[in-house]
Symmetry: C2
Subunit: 210 residues, 2 copies
Amino acid sequence: MASKNSMAKANERREAVLKAAAHLFGQLGFDGTSFSIVAEQAGEKKSFVQYHFENKDVLWRETVSYVWLQRNNALPRYIEDISLQRHSPADNKTMIRELCRNILQFTFAHPEWVKIMFQEASAPGPRLDWLVKEFIGTDFIEGRAMIELGQHHGVLPKVHAMDLLHILSGALLYLVSVAPVTERVLGVSPDSPEYMERHIDTLMTLLQQA
Amino acid sequence: MASKNSMAKANERREAVLKAAAHLFGQLGFDGTSFSIVAEQAGEKKSFVQYHFENKDVLWRETVSYVWLQRNNALPRYIEDISLQRHSPADNKTMIRELCRNILQFTFAHPEWVKIMFQEASAPGPRLDWLVKEFIGTDFIEGRAMIELGQHHGVLPKVHAMDLLHILSGALLYLVSVAPVTERVLGVSPDSPEYMERHIDTLMTLLQQA
DNA sequence: GTGCGGACTATACGATCGTATAGTATCGAT
DNA sequence: ATCGATACTATACGATCGTATAGTCCGCAC
């Protein structure tokens, strides 16, 4: 047989390419990322990348799918944890706090999905269309549902749900997106535990008035 | 003399290039923007652009300077208006509301500065360094001062000033940045007066607890 | 052991990139 | 009238882009 070993190895190499591509597409955008850089960063030949991803659009789409898959495997866990259990109001508040912390932690550790989103969101085009249809559309719906759940449980203020989603997303994702800027300006990096904790503290204070 | 007319015309052509470049750098990023596209969008020859901006980095920097100059001419007006006048607490609240609305309106009308910032913020590099040193560093300091002023006047909650700045910036700029996404998902464009007004309403509600 | 198919690689090609350089048109000063 | 400077344009060049194609290697069926 082709042996489990060789197949696993092939997948590893392919995944290394996806990982490098995710990093590069997020950092440099679609145009700034080339087959050769991706290959180099993945420790592969350009022809290898080209062989597994027939063209650049395919590479981009598979990379985005890979990134979102990773994210979806990590993030919604917390959400289910929350919605499945019943807690006292006090517990609920610490829980939503923990949810924010988890989102922030994961996003700092895997900022690719945010960066890719921001890269593509800045200009209309086929890639944005695809991204919305495939992933972000669902994100919006689920995010809104989550907000409404929190409001129903009395742990989020009863304001317009979509606005609150945007404001919370903004508060969390903006922090990650401009982290390199913040680091240069303030000399401290927002992905440190203390910075994150304080930021969430502040955010929670603003939300304490359900 | 070279005549005022011809000089004005020359400046017009140069400015048309800057305007086109601002749009393109914001939409496509540094790598995605080329001399030829800029020239084409400005209705000029590539050599004309090349003549006035000796290389791509110079073009980018002058474009950014042009964009920030425009923004700085428009935005801080409101800030001075606020800090110069003394108001009753009620007036102050409607004023901070109006400030948010003005920022949002201007940014929707001239999203280039936000988009360029997000484009460059995603990756460390010489352009980000320059941007921070030249413009964003000041933005942070002034923004923080503004927040602290609002807190001192009792119209903003007394939380960590830099965090609040990030949260407010996030709430406003994130909305603009992902507007193309929101439009596709919800079918309504966030730059409509009603959407903006409601979003600010929601934001103000969260801040009502100084 | 021969042939074949799939996994990978090397090379080639036209387009476009950023940049450098050579050329032209205009105009005031001499 | 001519010269020189300025403003702009046309062309050229090497590098790199995305892609297409040809070639190599190797495990397995027969």
